[in-house]
């Protein structure tokens, strides 16, 4: 299974098949999470039902298999059931990103009926005070946990996930306890990114180094990366899956290489997905890049601990091809965590594919 998955992902990388697409169905949300990167005030002109359906068909024709419905909050859309049903009818492996607070019986019934790969739900802490402090909506914790219990009772695969910020740096353990109690998977990420409108407020919520080291040394989280062989990376290796195997579609139907912090590659209201995917100059340029094009990073001794993102390097440090100060900090902490010993690699990540995921 793992080998087949690796082969599939590599093949998609090599041949630029948009295997994994995140479809942001809306910018509306009923929560107001303080770290959120989505431009939630920007709610005009979102795609209508027929437009989304047409795009789903185009994605299927282009070779997409892993589809994620994200937002905003997807259950703010009145037509969400119709869209989930259509995505499953077309055969996508469908993940739903949600806070689950708006889920009603009809949603639970539909998910049980059509089946989805996972419902991934944001849970920031086991206690309501911390969680609601981040979502800034009192009562959100209670509603979210109730929905999770209901989904698990229906045997739906649920992933509890959250970024770890300063506010919940000591509260994530209670989420793990809850996940074990209900039989859900869990996943945490210490990385916060700037908002789509380039507001850098979320970056200020990143953990301080001491907390970062704590979470990276926690074997429950599997956040430390096991170092590679120590050899110089293959210079021809592509930078990441951006524009090669992954894409993002915004609520207004714009195609992005992976995040709306990039410029749009094209509008699905003006061109088909296939046309944008194969001719967008931005996508073509991104695909030409490889490890040898990063003059600083290609020879860095911390390379095997690093999860550098070129977009972060540009937005936070001013150079798409330069070092990312955040990635450098995280690599340094991971290396220290690894040298402290006892940390296993990503043991809790991507369990469905034995550590391999379809993420970028």
């Amino acid at each position: 299974m793992v080998n087949r998955m690796v082969h599939l992902l590599n093949d998609a990388m090599d041949h630029f098949v948009p295997l994994s697409v995140t479809f942001e169905l809306t910018n509306r949300c009923n929560e107001d999470c303080k770290h959120c990167y989505v431009d939630l005030g920007d709610v005009d002109g979102q795609l209508g039902t027929d437009e989304v359906k047409r795009i789903l068909q185009e994605l299927r024709d282009a070779g997409t298999f892993f589809l994620t419905f994200s937002g905003g909050e997807i259950f703010t859309r009145k037509d969400i059931n119709e869209l989930i049903r259509e995505a499953r009818r077309l055969g996508f492996s469908l993940r739903l990103f949600t806070n689950a607070t708006l889920m009603k019986q009809e949603h639970f019934d539909l998910i049980a009926e059509v089946g989805v790969t996972a419902v991934e739900i944001s849970v920031y802490a086991g206690d309501a005070e911390t969680h609601d402090g981040i979502t800034r909506i009192p009562g959100s914790h209670e509603r979210t946990l109730a929905a999770i219990r209901k989904l698990r009772e229906m045997n739906v695969h649920v992933v509890l996930k959250a970024p770890i910020l300063e506010d919940n740096a000591s509260a994530y353990a209670s989420v793990i306890d809850f996940a074990r109690e209900v039989g859900a998977e869990y996943r945490f990420d210490p990385t916060l990114v700037a908002r789509y409108d380039l507001d850098d407020q979320p970056l200020c919520l990143r953990m301080k180094r001491a907390d970062l080291l704590n979470v990276c040394t926690d074997p429950e989280l599997g956040l430390a990366i096991e170092p590679g062989s120590g050899s110089t990376p293959d210079p021809d290796q592509s930078l990441c899956a951006t524009a090669r195997r992954v894409a993002l579609i915004s609520a207004r139907g714009r195609v992005y290489p992976c995040s709306q912090r990039f410029p749009p590659a094209g509008s699905l209201r003006e061109h088909s997905f296939a046309e944008i995917w194969s001719t967008s100059p931005l996508l073509l340029r991104l695909r030409a890049l490889s490890a040898q094009d990063l003059p600083h990073c290609s020879t860095c001794s911390s390379n095997s601990f690093c999860g550098r993102c070129s977009l972060d390097a540009l937005l936070e440090d001013g150079d798409f091809f330069g070092a990312s100060s955040w990635a450098c900090q995280l690599a340094e902490v991971r290396q220290e965590a690894y040298e402290k010993g006892g940390v296993t690699m990503r043991q809790n990540l991507g369990q469905r594919f034995g550590g391999i995921t379809d993420d970028c």
Binding site: D14, N30, K78, D79, P263
Partner: protein
Amino acid sequence: MQPLDLDLGGIHLRVTVDQPAIRGHALERYDGFFHLAPPKQADLEIHFRIDLESRPHRYHPVWVDSPPITSRGSMEHAWIEGEAFSGEIDWQRGNGTAVIPNSLAHLDLFVRIALGVELLRRRSTLLHAAAVVRDHFGIICSGPSGAGKSTIADICRDLGLRVLADEMVVARMQGASCRVIGSPFWHGERRSAPAGAVFILEQTETPRIERISAARALPRMMEAGGAPLALPDVQAAFFETCGMLLERIPAYRLGFSKNPGFWEVVDRLPEFAFFKPNTRQPLAPSTTMKTLPSLQSALSSADPSPTRPPRTPTPQHGDSK
């Protein structure tokens, strides 16, 4: 005599010459393109025998130009002839021989032909184009003689940009992407860059740039020439490889005059502007992190950010439609 191990576009070409004088000229000509640690087996070996008596019409010992040639054969094995020179190259077996005048132009010609066909056999090509590096990307500037390839290379060199080649450049397919590699034809560097654009050059009074489709760019690239031989299968492979290239790189028609002003219009394109370092104000987490307590305080207030539009959560049972 010691062979010359050339690294041209990733191809290891071993050249032997039986005359010290022309070998000396070749050492200068290909300076910077020698294999530093050549493997025992080269991709292609060409042996040159120098006919000291031969004096073709346009003979010059170091002047580099393309003598007119005729050829027969195929991409596997071809015979090449012209005034006072002849040779054959067997790409299948990886070797070739040539008898040429004591002229660097003729040696250069055979090297380009050997390299050009070898690249085509590997789904890559030598293009009649200049190439410069702008913001980490290799820009291929294509056009027939007189279109401005050398001019644009000179302008870019004066601006401090890296010039990979001013007349012929290697486009090497890597999987479904492409790299531009410098060549010594006529002046260049043994460096490479990810292929970022093809500019079809034309001279205009005011600079302008227009995105054009692969279908529109391909005939213009063919007009610029660059196929190493006139043999049908070589021409077909060149056509196909240029087509593959244009599937991988965006093409533009660039109108320019003999000044660097054209970069202003180029840099306005979002796909160029985006990759420029420091064109936007970098975010500064290290700075803002220091102000974390005050920011946290601000975040807990009604409007967490002065730059952030007010955000009203959607009502619990809201409808986005």
